[in-house]
């Protein structure tokens, strides 16, 4: 797959090209050029670091959506063994935007569930750009219940623009499917580990996001609405120019979410982002999953479910005053007239 570069990655593109040219050349030239290779690599790392330290929230969104960013299927291959994909919700269809599988990690069988956006145009269409329909969430619920029945932990990977806003999705109950998934995940008796690997887009992301541990890759994002959607609603006149502002206002980076206590751990990405070194990213992710699974396995199912309930029960920020803050309810019905 040829690497793709975002605008702000351009400065490394030329260095990458020179490196590749040398590495593709005859072995004797490569030997001769080894100092040049080292220098190019060092330069590339230096440039990348300066790009990454100055990332704006909107640039982070672009990295989270990077066309070369490792996907659920990549991680299934690099982190797990004996992978068997499960298909279909047994009611309507198989949704390729949400992948479900049984797999092994560190000698432990688990159920893996994750969004899949697709890389080529054909894949993207087949996988609906990673936007699940109701049957995707129903397949996922089915897989989680299967895992519970055979006492297998559940690992999910979040990477979606959101649940699909389509006509047929509405007809088949998109909202009900997401609601049912939240309902079931909140009471699963097996350990649940969630990793936000790319784009955490709204309810379509959260639907597989109710876990005992919520991990997030350094450049992943997670929010209630996409920056574009937010800008379109709140800056009606000129939304396109306000997308970066909306991104900043939504506070959707891994650092923000960690400071809010919404996620438990940020996983460091290789220099330049996960797509620059997918193997290293996979190793980091694997280590974290194995570590958290080890911790979670020692608790009883009852304690785990209770802790998960309390974890989400606590989320939210509000003021609790000494007295009522709303006007008191009138004992009898009073006229209600809209002000506008």
């Amino acid at each position: 797959m040829p690497p793709e570069y975002l605008d702000f990655e351009r400065p490394v593109a030329e260095l990458d090209r020179q490196l590749e040219e040398i590495l593709a050349g005859p072995p004797e030239d490569r030997e001769e050029a080894r100092f040049k290779v080292a220098a190019l690599r060092a330069e590339s790392e230096r440039v990348l670091e300066s790009i990454m330290t100055g990332l704006t929230p909107w640039q982070r969104v672009q990295i989270a959506r990077h066309p070369s960013r490792p996907s659920t299927l990549n991680y299934l291959q690099s982190i797990f063994s004996d992978v068997i994909e499960l298909k279909g919700d047994r009611r309507f269809a198989d949704d390729q935007a949400l992948v479900c599988a049984l797999a092994r990690i560190d000698k432990q069988s688990v159920a893996v569930i994750g969004h899949q956006k697709g890389r080529t145009t054909r894949e993207k269409i087949a996988r609906n750009f990673g936007m699940p329909n109701p049957e995707g969430y129903r397949k996922s619920i089915r897989t989680m219940k299967l895992a519970e029945k055979f006492r297998l932990p559940v690992v999910t990977f979040i990477d979606t623009p959101g649940a699909y806003p389509g006509l047929e999705a509405e007809e088949r109950g998109q909202a009900e499917a997401i609601a049912a998934s939240l309902f079931e995940m909140s009471r699963l008796r097996v350990p649940v580990i969630v990793a936000v690997t790319g784009e955490g887009g709204s309810g379509g992301a959260l639907a597989i996001g109710v876990g005992d541990r919520i991990l997030m890759l350094e450049h992943a994002v997670y929010s209630v609405i996409s920056p574009e959607g937010c800008a379109a609603i709140l800056w009606k006149g000129d939304p396109a120019s306000k997308v970066a502002d909306a991104t900043a206002a939504l506070r959707m980076t891994a650092g923000d979410l960690l400071s809010f206590g919404v996620i438990d751990e940020v996983l460091k990405e290789p220099p330049g982002g996960a797509h620059r070194d997918p193997d290293r990213m996979a190793a980091t992710l694997k280590e974290a999953i194995v570590r958290h699974l080890g911790e979670l396995k020692t608790a009883s199912p009852e304690d785990r479910v209770e802790a998960r309930y309390q974890k989400f029960r606590r989320m939210g920020v509000f003021k609790e005053k000494k007295t009522a803050v709303s006007a008191p309810a009138k004992p009898r019905r009073k006229k209600s007239r809209d002000k506008d």
């Binding site: 909202a175 997401i178 909140s186 709140l234 309930y309 029960r313 006229k335």
Partner: protein, 283 residues
């Protein structure tokens, strides 16, 4: 989550000011109505049956026996954890919504009797920032579900919402998980939960507690969905069919049990409670 505060109501009222008292024009049938008559008829047009939007407090008053309602968690007020600012600061928007509705946030929860049966009830206020769900709405719905479980009293929630509240960012999103989890506990306690969908109910509210009722009721012609009609049209680049996302459409597609006239909602709930919790109602 889509906030659709500017969604067209199924039927809206236009004010026609005439010196002697207040008249209203029903946009369902264009008839001029006496405001008093409409109010007496629970906001349903006596001529064409159009269900006009009503406030959260009015909704509760329609269902709870007079003098038996007591509100709880009314001391909760929204914060501004993101210090969110678009064309206007979140704090200013909140202040405006508070002035307009008299409420601190977009939901009221309380306890009372429904034809003599103790129930826990919640109603969302669409007039408060489009009934959007932020931390306060999520917390109050969760507390209502927990109270219903501990009292073993049925839970009734009347929804009217554009979805999750953008201005509280990720905290709003997490209210979906929180309310769904609280409803799951109520389910495990074996206490019934009736979800009443009113015009309009969308986004993160539909995709959490609103679609999780043991029995799901909806008002006639109410617009209900996950994504707003505008977003869907932009996505599929087609015009949506007549009646799309109306209560009747949802019922046809197997997503709603009962489409019920507001004037019969109370007795319908009472019969449902008697079916699911026999012995609590003296028929």
């Amino acid at each position: 989550m889509e906030i659709s505060q500017d969604q067209k109501p199924s039927a809206s009222l236009k004010r026609v000011k005439i010196p002697e008292g207040l008249f209203l024009s029903c946009e369902g049938c264009k008839e001029i109505l006496l405001a008093k008559d409409l109010e007496k008829n629970l906001g349903v047009c006596p001529k064409c049956g159009a269900h006009h939007r009503v406030s959260a407090r009015d909704r509760i008053a329609f269902l709870i026996d007079p003098g038996t309602y007591s509100e709880f968690a009314s001391n909760l007020a929204p914060a501004d954890p993101l210090e969110f600012k678009d064309t206007q600061g979140y704090k200013d928007r909140l202040a405006g919504a508070r002035r307009k509705t008299g409420l601190a946030d977009a939901v009221c929860v309380g306890e009372g009797l429904l034809e003599g049966v103790p129930v826990v009830i919640g109603a969302l206020e669409f007039g408060f920032m489009g009934g959007s769900m932020g931390s306060v709405v999520g917390e109050k719905i969760a507390r209502a579900a927990e109270r219903a479980a501990s009292r073993r009293a049925p839970l009734i929630v009347c929804s009217a919402s554009g979805g999750a509240r953008m201005q509280e960012g990720i905290f709003s999103l997490m209210q979906m998980a929180k309310t769904a989890a609280a409803v799951a506990r109520l389910h495990e306690a074996g206490v019934p939960y009736f979800s009443v969908l009113t015009d309009p109910t969308f986004g993160g509210v539909t995709a959490s507690f609103a679609m999780l009722g043991d029995v799901i009721l909806a008002e006639p012609r109410a617009l209900i969905g996950f994504a707003g009609p505008r977003v869907i049209e932009q996505t599929i680049k087609k015009q949506l069919p007549e009646g799309f996302q109306r209560a009747e459409f949802l019922q046809e597609h197997g997503l709603v049990d009962i489409v019920v006239d507001r004037r019969r909602l109370k007795e319908t709930l009472r019969v449902l409670i008697d079916h699911l919790m026999p012995g609590t109602v003296n028929l």
